[in-house]
Symmetry: C2
């Protein structure tokens, strides 16, 4: 390994020049005017793949932005690794808040500053350069490698989902390696091994068939606003347990291994809460804040509206009221099943004379790669060796839909080897990426590829 | 009386020509461009007063539109009646829905069609013409009469309130006669004797100091939307009783006289509800819909908002959430006292980590003139004689702030002798006023004035 590390160290500054070229392309997927730049970025990435030794590279056109695919299958009998990244970026606005122009990368303070530096160009670049370095030092790769770069992650990955369905055979692999998440703390190697799922619903309630004057009717007729607040307030009990029937039936318990992993993190709940102006974690009894977010399902009202919401006092009883409710799911909850239970329950809570309509807006499966899965063990060992610290295992309270898609469709474990930091302003002005983490990421990636050669799929 | 009635009948068509002239003036108080028309209308009304024999007439300028005041005090030792009306009107828009132009009055189907016909030009006009008729027939009036016409009723009467404070002596009287409400049913003489008061509050709650992602925080922190729905749901119990401490302490019971008056109305609850698409009256146990609206306080959420309210699914836990809450009050509840109890109660309901801010937007006293008050008895007898039907006594679930102001400031009972109908499109296109009710109103007004001469203030 030492030779590979040395190669990375001695070429690191040249690598940065390549990364700067990549970051100069304003591949803003949400901006139709940048369609050409997004395409240019796809070609740039494809060319890079060819340059480093990936012998078969294709650009697949989609209804939206192109998908870049490359493969090197020169290690028959050996495991296959699919490396995913996205070359599209968030819009840079508001421009006036940037210290340097967003598409003119600058190196300062051991960081590279530009839109896309940490999300996700800088992160997937680490794997590109690790593969290049192995090729240069070893003349070959010990495993088969497939690269998949999409240009629509920031706008929902809808074409990648279609692509996955169509090209399951092409993308077949033993593991998917993704660097698009964060380290738990600077310098601490981290693997995200669990994601919550989502069931998102919109509720519409209707009482009287028109808006009424609260003087002429108040006290004698159903008020959809009061009725809706009553219904929502019944979705959780006073211990913050969700009251939907059968809701917790499929929920997996936190394993001993996971409990140990949490303990090691020395999570500072007080600090976590004070960063958002709070003193107390309010949630399900018997769990701390981290366990609540990572391991337990949750229910939140994400929006509510109805009646008069302008300045001053209007005495209206509105005909209708609305709310959005999202439920975060954990294994083995099923979004479709949960939505059905939610809908039935909401209807059962509606009083006489209240029509209620419940619509599912979004659903996503929860996913984990068991903490003791052998590919996780290999990745963890590589990270520990390179970073010089024990790898920590975290979950993510949110959902990363594409990760779940990979796992479901390719039936391969995903390794979320995040190299960013939550503080690196992804999606805000002054995005940046730590060069220390980039260099460590390249070495960890190389280490993992070398060791993954010995992995045997069960 | 017969001579007076005959005079009214034989001059009714001429009277209508005067009313048409009054209705032709587009005295839209809310429209700054119509300021001149509003002023013209004040002068027109002042001239009419002089024409009919009111010997002292003044136009008082205010910060807004003028107040017209006239008095005839030629009956010393006799009671004084203050007749109130408003000469301003609602905007006519949308114009395309009018059958006839709003300011070109047309007589059709025993109705006069124009903006202001029923609200309130046509209604106060009845009293003007009754006074004129008595003058013509009797050569004098049996009582002292004061007229007060304002031009800002449709925009809140704020300058009239100041005027009342300033001119208590000028306006001193034994009763205030107001026709600006509705008959219970066509042809049924009606006195509105009770109004509910109002306490209107806006609530702002704040949890985390910024909007959060419901994936990364959901289940572990307070969600202001859920917290607000919990708080609002606790303001009433399952029997729809308001749970604010000490809330019902001052509420007067429904008297036997009032119970009898309600019975006589033969209120059809089913019809009332089906007109707004409902089947059930939902409200305080032990009362029917009418009792709930007229005699019992009520609490309604009039508006609620927070979080994401656009199309689709956004998984946000917002920092703040808002609601508007109004409470309708009955005698002897006090808006200021109730607001304090509400504020204290809301704060007591707020969970840890939720900041709550409660602001009073509006307060108004409830008011009644006891159903057996002698002035009400005289007015009721006059109406019954003229309409040929027993006068019915109704309350109003809403508030008419200016009526309460008169009663409080002048310490005189208000007689709400409504001549309109709720179906006469006040505030909508095609406003109209029944000529039958106008004629009966003139006669009832004359009858009342003649009989009021015998009233002795206690």
């Amino acid at each position: 390994m030492k030779q590979i590390y040395d190669y990375i160290d001695s070429n690191f500054n040249n690598f940065l020049e390549d990364l700067k070229d990549l970051l100069r392309i304003p591949s803003i997927s949400s901006n139709p005017e940048k369609k050409g730049d997004v395409r240019n970025c796809a070609y740039f990435a494809a060319n890079k793949l060819k340059e480093i030794g990936i012998n078969k590279v294709n650009i697949f056109d989609t209804q939206g932005h192109p998908i870049v695919y490359g493969e090197w299958l020169g290690a028959p009998g050996k495991p296959t690794l699919l490396i995913y990244g996205h070359y599209d970026v968030q819009p840079p606005e508001p421009l006036e808040l940037w210290k340097y122009p967003p598409f003119e990368p600058v190196i300062e303070d051991d960081k590279i500053w530009a839109r896309g530096a940490t999300d996700d160009k800088g992160q997937f670049f680490a794997h590109l350069k690790s593969v290049e370095s192995i090729f240069k030092v070893e003349g070959t790769l010990p495993i088969n490698v497939k690269f998949l770069f999409e240009g629509e992650e920031e706008i929902g990955s809808s074409n990648l989902k279609i692509f996955l369905d169509k090209h399951k055979e092409l993308l077949k692999c033993d593991a998917v390696l993704i660097s698009d998440t964060s380290l738990y703390e600077p310098g601490v190697p981290t693997i995200t091994y669990g994601l919550r799922g989502l069931c998102y619903a919109e509720i519409e309630v209707e009482g009287p068939n028109r808006d009424l004057h609260s003087g002429s009717y108040g006290g004698a007729v159903i008020n959809p606003l009061n009725a809706l607040t009553n219904i929502i307030s019944k979705l959780k009990d006073k211990n913050e347990k969700i009251t939907i029937p059968n809701f917790y039936k499929d929920v997996l318990k936190i394993s001993d291994k996971e409990k140990k992993a949490i303990k090691k993190l020395k999570f500072n709940e007080k600090e976590f809460l004070s960063s958002i102006g709070l003193k107390n974690s309010i949630g399900e009894k018997g769990f701390n804040a981290l366990e609540r977010i990572w391991f337990r399902p949750s229910l939140d009202c994400n929006g509510i509206w109805g009646g008069f919401t302008g300045e001053g006092a209007k005495t209206v009883i509105p005909s209708k009221a609305f709310a959005k409710i999202s439920i975060r799911l954990v294994l083995n909850q099923n979004p479709a099943k949960i939505f059905k239970e939610l809908e039935k329950y909401l209807k059962s809570l509606a009083p006489k004379d209240l029509k209620i309509n419940v619509k599912q807006l979004h659903g996503g499966d929860p996913a984990i790669v068991p903490i003791d899965h052998p590919v996780i063990a290999i990745a963890s060992k590589s990270l520990t060796e390179v970073f010089g610290k024990e790898t920590c295992f975290i979950r993510e309270g949110g959902s990363i839909p594409i990760v779940v898609e990979f796992m479901k469709k390719l039936k391969a474990p995903a390794i979320l080897m995040g190299l960013g930091l939550d503080s690196e302003n992804l999606h805000s002005p002054n995005e940046h990426f730590s060069l220390t983490h980039l260099r460590l990421g390249m070495k960890a990636s190389a280490n993992f590829i070398m060791n993954f050669a010995n992995y045997k799929r069960k």
